[in-house]
């Protein structure tokens, strides 16, 4: 029995984004890639709850091009036991990504529990987690900031609106998406990195999972940088506060 943690490689927040020539995406040549921050919480929780969830192994898995192996290595260096890389240069919509992940989990399962980040910071869709649960026909809960294993059930705290929280009970075999606050992800240590080099990474193609490399049903195009913002208006004189309030009403018309 294993825990599966779905991860994604995303551009670092600090990276400057450039658009590619045909505006179909970003110019990935100069991008610094990282493990999606929310996925770190997911990996950490899997490691912390491995025993409580009755798992022998923690698998990290991802779907994406060759470079994504680095995100898997980060998860392995944190302490995951094995990794699965469904390698493809194609881009898929969330529904198809979820079905690929589900097939990989079935191939390497059985699973005790499945974790993912609450969203990836590139597209912000927060869709793969719930859709993966549907593809596996298991329940899910998202945006989880606390998790306990009680009598073969998972009890989680999840954030809802305006600081309110919902306490939810689910079977162990569920998809849980992680929010900040769930834990403090460990720093990757040098011995961790050395150990990770010896851990198995299973690389496979979509066809190995018995799936077709379906054409993308959702097309992302016409990428463009946001329009330049006009320079900030600095209010420097003694009546700056009065001036600000006046500008917000008369010029910006927001109050």
């Amino acid at each position: 029995m294993s825990i599966f943690v779905c991860v994604k490689q995303v551009p670092d927040t600090e990276t400057k984004i450039k658009i590619n020539a045909d505006q179909t995406g970003i110019d990935s040549s100069s991008v610094k890639w990282i493990l999606n921050p929310y996925d770190e919480f997911a990996v950490e929780e899997a490691l912390l709850k491995k025993q409580a969830l009755g798992a022998e192994k923690v698998f990290a898995l991802t779907v994406g091009p060759a470079r994504c192996i680095e995100a898997l290595r980060t998860a392995l260096a944190m302490g995951a036991d094995e990794a699965i890389h469904v390698q493809t240069e194609l881009e898929f919509d969330s529904l198809y990504t979820a079905s690929i992940l589900a097939s990989a989990i079935k191939k390497f399962g059985p699973a005790t529990t499945v974790f993912a980040g609450k969203l990836s910071i590139d597209g912000n869709n927060s869709s793969v987690g719930p859709q993966l649960a549907e593809a596996l026909s298991i329940p899910h809960t998202s945006v989880v900031s606390k998790l306990e294993v009680r009598d073969n059930k998972i009890v989680v705290e999840r954030e809802i609106e305006a600081g309110s929280k919902e306490i939810v009970e689910l079977p162990m075999l569920s998809v849980i998406t992680a929010n900040k606050g769930l834990n403090t992800p460990r720093f990757v240590s040098l011995p961790g990195i050395m150990k990770a080099k010896k851990k198995p990474i299973h690389t496979l193609n979509i066809s190995d999972l018995g799936l077709a490399a379906s054409s993308n049903e959702t097309l992302y195009k016409e990428f463009a940088l946001p329009p330049e913002k006009p320079l900030v208006k600095m209010l420097l004189n003694d009546s700056a506060i009065q001036e600000l309030v006046k500008l917000l009403r008369e010029e910006a018309k927001v109050i």
């Binding site: 927040t13 658009i19 970003i26 921050p37 969330s94 979820a98 910071i121 590139d122 912000n124 869709n125 927060s126 869709s127 793969v128 719930p130 859709q131 549907e134 593809a135 329940p139 899910h140 809960t141 998202s142 945006v143 009890v155 809802i160 609106e161 305006a162 600081g163 309110s164 919902e166 306490i167 939810v168 009970e169 079977p171 569920s174 900040k180 606050g181 049903e217 959702t218 097309l219 992302y220 195009k221 016409e222 990428f223 463009a224 940088l225 946001p226 900030v232 208006k233 600095m234 209010l235 420097l236 700056a240 506060i241 600000l244 309030v245 917000l248 009403r249 910006a252 927001v254 109050i255």
Partner: protein
């Protein structure tokens, strides 16, 4: 072809984000239906002004709190029954979970965080920010599938159209076994709109010097009807709850007015708020990066400026 709008309300009153969606729907010329799940005593009299012909209402005690299994079952059954091909919602903690789940159940295309709806070839295309607002793109959908779209609140106008007669239709929950149980709801202290839906946000950072000084921010927020946010530095320091954090590992917000007080503007913070329409920055350090994103800037001590600013707003809003 018909369009279904998922409505949300607070205290029985429709959220303005729902009215934005209705306004966009009236421009398509399609038959408009709406649905609400679990909102007790929702006042639907206003729907007639937005071309809504049918409103479907699920009333069941099981829908009082959000449970993905139960909500998804209800929404999926309705979409299939009325054969809705376009389903619109506004991003909220409920819909961000519910919509992708239902999209998987009905095999629909799904996109979240839209900022603009474009009606072309009997379909919506969506403009949305990518990479934390560092760029934008247009998302187009397959014609062979239903489309489910979540829009960010406060992005589109609200305009009434010619009144119609809205038929109210009560639905009952499909019978099923549910594995997910909501044990309890722990109420937050705030009665305010969630950060992601607020039209005005006043946010504080380390420049407020200590937790107690957030009171000044709360005073300003109550004058403006705003929601209070915070930078990561101060949520990590435990001054305020993590649920108030704006930025990379907090909430992504895009209000009409964002007032950043004593926040220097780290990339991670900017990633969560740079799409705000008007940004006011108040900071001691004239070199703070927040000023590069701001519309208006004041250099000075947050603790001195906040009470004066609050008084000035009060004067304006009470006049």
């Amino acid at each position: 072809m018909s369009i279904l709008i998922y409505l949300e309300a607070t205290k029985g009153k429709l959220k303005s984000s729902s009215l934005e969606l209705l306004t966009a729907a009236t421009k398509t010329g399609l038959e408009i239906s709406t649905v609400s799940l679990g909102d007790q005593n929702l006042d639907i009299t206003g729907l007639k002004d937005f071309g809504v012909l049918k409103h479907f209402e699920f009333k069941d005690d099981k829908l009082k709190t959000y449970n993905p299994e139960i909500f998804a079952k209800a929404l999926t059954s309705l979409i299939q029954e009325i054969k809705a091909e376009i389903i619109l919602g506004s991003s909220s903690s409920t819909t961000k979970d519910l919509f992708p789940t239902v999209a998987a159940q009905i095999c629909a295309s799904f996109v979240s965080d839209g900022t603009q709806l474009i009606w072309e070839q009997n379909r919506f295309a969506v403009k949305k920010p990518m990479y934390a607002g560092k760029c934008f793109c247009k998302v187009e959908f397959s014609k062979d599938r239903p489309q489910m779209i979540l829009m960010r609140p406060n992005q589109m106008p609200v305009v009434k159209s010619t009144p119609v007669a809205t038929e109210l239709i009560s639905k009952s929950l499909p019978v099923s076994d549910f594995k997910t149980k909501v044990l309890e709801i722990v109420k937050g202290t705030s009665e305010k709109l969630d950060l992601t839906e607020a039209n005005i946000i006043v946010s504080g950072g380390r420049g407020l010097q200590k937790a107690d000084n957030f009171k000044l921010l709360e005073d300003l927020a109550s004058t403006l009807g705003a929601t209070v946010g915070a930078s990561r530095a101060v949520t990590d320091a435990g001054w305020v709850s993590h649920s108030m954090q704006v930025g990379q590992t907090g909430k992504t917000v895009a209000p009409s007015l964002y007032i950043a007080v004593g926040i220097s503007g780290a990339v991670q913070h900017l990633a969560g708020m740079s799409d705000s329409k008007v940004i006011v920055a108040i900071n001691k350090d004239p070199e703070a990066p927040i000023f590069k994103k701001a519309t208006y800037g004041i250099v000075g001590d947050a603790l001195e400026i906040l009470p004066l600013l609050n008084a000035e707003f009060k004067k304006l809003l009470n006049s």
